[in-house]
């Protein structure tokens, strides 16, 4: 499979057995690559691998598949859907040139949009490996990606949030309480999305109905999603349930996706089923995908690739189905893949950059588990950096504490913080609703309880 790569530095010659090894060794340090045994053996070997990678023509990635075409439908998707006309703008570049080109003043949001279908995930991953954090931020900010269902996500200067009202027993009032908290803090424009505690079709329908009724009653310009398996959602649609978005966790290799219990045909079927409901009002992006570095290794389906390259390949799967939202759940997987705040931060910026470069409405679950070397300060840093980079959406959860999934993500307050310091705003349709409901006036939250919500609260307490 492919040939080896050499680099001579002074009197020493470094050799990399193939493209996969070169990519892996050029990757900034992270624990998952060490666990996989693909990491550079020394800091110097990593630096040399980056120099070797920088000299590589982008065309190489079209001729040398990291996972053989015959073995993997994601490889086939990447190569069969490659747009050679779009690629012609950058076909003469090396990976190192590509970095310069992306950073240049010549390259505008319009040019990036023209070229995106000519960029493969491997090209995006390769260039990201030789970019510093500020490069990842600067270029991502130039990639303008919008998507729409009942509102518009990803406009420049806007930051949306997924309201995540999880409850350990799916208690309907417990979920409604977290939904109300989020809405009154101006959150929930990307989606109101529940990870069900009990994962089956009947439960999913119950939760979809709950969210749909609230969205209808209060006329909220947003969409709902139950994060259940794609085949469950197809069954929900067949049963007549009010499905806005279809969810699925996806990975960058066919074997990863098999371990998740689906293939590309399953996603196509689900997308068609959701489109047939015609529930979007301003757009028809009906898919919600989640990804995260380390999932392929975790499923023993990484084919010897580094985890960031696997992650970027997942974005090829995502963009095939025109999603409303793609969410890299960066710190959820644990310290054996991303050890500490520094590795989580780097991975979050890489994923956001690669996703945006490939044309995806990229958001990030800025998060950590309690066994990772990370804390709220690390999350503040990554959240701020992603805000600067123009991240499409982040999570919003009461007080950062997910009491069902047992991890910490960004809070409703955090979203308001990042909007405040960066002057960014919710999705325009949703912002109109916030003002109409008297939840917020000109970016300032009301001190009063909005009347529409005061009524049910008074009723709960026995008054009317």
């Amino acid at each position: 499979m492919g040939h080896s790569y050499r680099y001579t530095l002074g009197s020493q010659t470094y050799q990399f057995a193939n493209l996969a090894e070169l990519m892996a060794k050029a990757t900034p340090h992270r624990s998952g690559d060490r666990l996989a045994g693909v990491i550079a053996h020394s800091a110097k070997e990593r630096a040399v691998a980056q120099m070797t990678l920088a000299d590589l023509p982008l065309k190489t990635f079209l001729n040398e598949a990291l996972i053989p075409y015959e073995q993997d439908e994601v490889t086939r998707l990447i190569l069969d859907d490659h747009d050679s006309k779009a690629f012609s703008h950058i076909s003469h570049l090396t990976v190192g040139d590509f970095r310069n080109w992306l950073l240049s003043d010549y390259v505008t949001p319009e040019i990036l949009a023209t070229v995106k279908m000519g960029i493969t995930p491997e090209m995006a991953a390769a260039v990201s490996k030789i970019m510093r954090n500020q490069d990842l931020i600067l270029v991502a900010k130039k990639c303008h990606v919008t998507s729409a269902f009942r509102n518009t996500i990803g406009l420049p200067g806007h930051l949306s949030t997924r309201l995540q009202p999880n409850h350990p027993t799916d208690d309907v009032n417990g979920i409604a309480a977290s939904m109300l908290d989020g809405l009154l803090y101006g959150n929930g424009d990307a989606v109101i999305g529940i990870n069900p505690a009990t994962d089956n079709v009947a439960q999913a329908i119950k939760l979809m109905t709950l969210m749909d009724e609230v969205i209808q009653k209060y006329q909220i310009p947003t969409q709902s999603c139950v994060l259940t398996h794609v085949t469950n959602t197809i069954e929900c649609i067949e049963a007549g349930a009010p499905v806005d978005l279809v969810f699925q966790s996806i990975g960058g290799t066919e074997a990863t996706n098999s371990s998740f219990g689906f293939n590309l045909n399953t996603l196509a079927e689900a997308q068609q089923a959701a489109l047939s409901l015609n529930r979007g009002s301003v757009g028809q992006n009906v898919m919600y995908f989640e990804t995260g570095q380390g999932s392929s290794l975790s499923a023993n389906a990484h084919h010897g690739l580094d985890q960031q390259t696997c992650e970027a390949r997942a974005y090829a799967v995502a963009r095939k189905f025109k999603p409303l939202l793609v969410n890299t759940v960066v710190g959820f997987i644990g310290p054996e893949y991303l050890f500490d705040g520094k590795e989580i931060t780097r991975a979050g910026l890489e994923d956001h950059f690669c996703g945006k470069l490939l044309g995806l409405p990229m958001g990030c679950d800025v998060c950590y588990t309690n066994h990772a070397e990370a804390d709220q300060n690390d999350m503040d840093n990554l959240l701020t950096l992603l805000g600067v980079a123009g991240c499409s959406f982040v999570m919003g959860i009461p007080g950062s504490d997910d009491i069902m999934l047992n991890y910490q993500t960004t809070s409703f307050h955090d979203a308001l913080y990042v909007r405040r310091v960066l002057g960014s705003r919710p999705s325009p349709e949703f912002e109109q609703w916030l003002m109409h409901m008297n939840i917020m006036q000109n970016t300032i939250l009301s001190t009063d309880l909005p009347s529409a919500f005061a009524k049910p609260l008074r009723a709960l307490q026995g008054g009317c």
Binding site: H167, G174, I403, H413, L457, Q461
Partner: protein, 296 residues
């Protein structure tokens, strides 16, 4: 949570002074915590967390971090376990270790946490060979593993084992029990290794679960029929969230007894063995209307 004394005022009045004097703005819907443990209605200082809530969060996180990082006090735990009345005549608890030699390695190398250290393997084998040959076959081996929360194991292993053994002791034909082992720096699968060495029909692993912010002390139970090295999660059954504020020791022991009996009947564990002890309860909990859409 006490409701505010003057609800009507709180819910409808405007109080511009609140903004002027820089006080925390409270959220009247905090009462909704009757429905959830989620951190709702925190109030705000500007758009930020009030000091008290910030510090409460830090305390929760500190407890969870300590649960992960503080080592299990092995001698205290073995003394507790040896003092269980039903184990009065049993072999004292054996202590072993995984191949992950410290916490940092443990956190980054789950593969090493699944394997017994060579010295530990030898000591277990040596222990078994002390007695008369051939190696006895045990019905059940209980393996206590620190996992990701030493706090869970330190606090809950003894009372849970006590509850389980009390139940099992009431069965018509009591099970033969392998010596209890305590494992340092272990993952779930290390129980398969130990169960295999003991030639046990069933192994139960009690392990500290990944600590949540509000649940730093969750004990997990994993059960495997005919344990041997290399089995995957598909061959195990799990009982999660065993702790006083979650699944009580008695309820967990009841579930475990059910699974043990079913496993022995059907000679298997894993995806084909379902816990049906809760089926009737779940069917009866199908409330569908929430307060936000209730007709007024």
């Amino acid at each position: 949570m006490k409701p505010p004394s003057d609800q009507q005022t709180v819910y409808t009045s405007t109080n511009p002074k609140k903004l002027q004097n820089g006080a925390v703005i409270a959220n009247p819907w905090r009462d909704l915590r009757q429905f959830t443990d989620a951190r709702i209605g925190l109030g705000r200082a500007g758009i930020s967390l009030p000091t008290a809530e910030l510090l409460a969060f830090q305390l929760s996180h500190a407890q969870a971090r300590d649960a992960v990082n503080l080592p299990l006090e092995v001698s205290a735990l073995t003394a507790q376990l040896n003092a269980i009345p039903l184990l009065a005549n049993a072999t004292p608890v054996l202590v072993v270790a995984s191949q992950a030699h410290d916490r940092v390695t443990y956190l980054q190398r789950p593969d090493l946490g699944r394997k017994l250290a060579d010295a530990s393997r030898h000591s277990l084998v040596k222990h078994l060979n002390q007695g008369e040959a051939p190696t006895p076959r045990f019905d059940l081996a209980i393996v206590v593993v620190d996992g990701l929360s030493s706090l869970a194991v330190q606090s809950h292993a003894k009372p849970f084992i006590n509850a389980l053994l009390t139940r099992l002791n009431q069965q018509q034909k009591p099970l033969t029990l392998a010596p209890i082992t305590v494992v340092e720096q272990g993952r779930v699968a290390i129980g398969d290794d130990i169960g295999e060495i003991f030639n046990a029909q069933i192994v139960i692993v009690l392990i500290g679960e990944r600590p949540g912010l509000s649940s730093p002390d969750s004990l997990g139970l994993y059960m495997t029929w005919s344990p041997k090295t290399g089995l995957t999660d598909a061959y195990r059954n799990c009982i999660s969230n065993i702790r006083p504020a979650g699944l009580s020791f008695n309820e967990a022991a009841k579930k475990a007894e059910y699974l043990i009996n079913e496993a022995r009947k059907r000679q298997l564990t894993g995806v084909d063995l379902k816990d049906r002890t809760q089926d009737d309860v779940i069917e009866n909990q199908q409330q569908t209307t929430n307060f936000l859409i209730a007709e007024l």
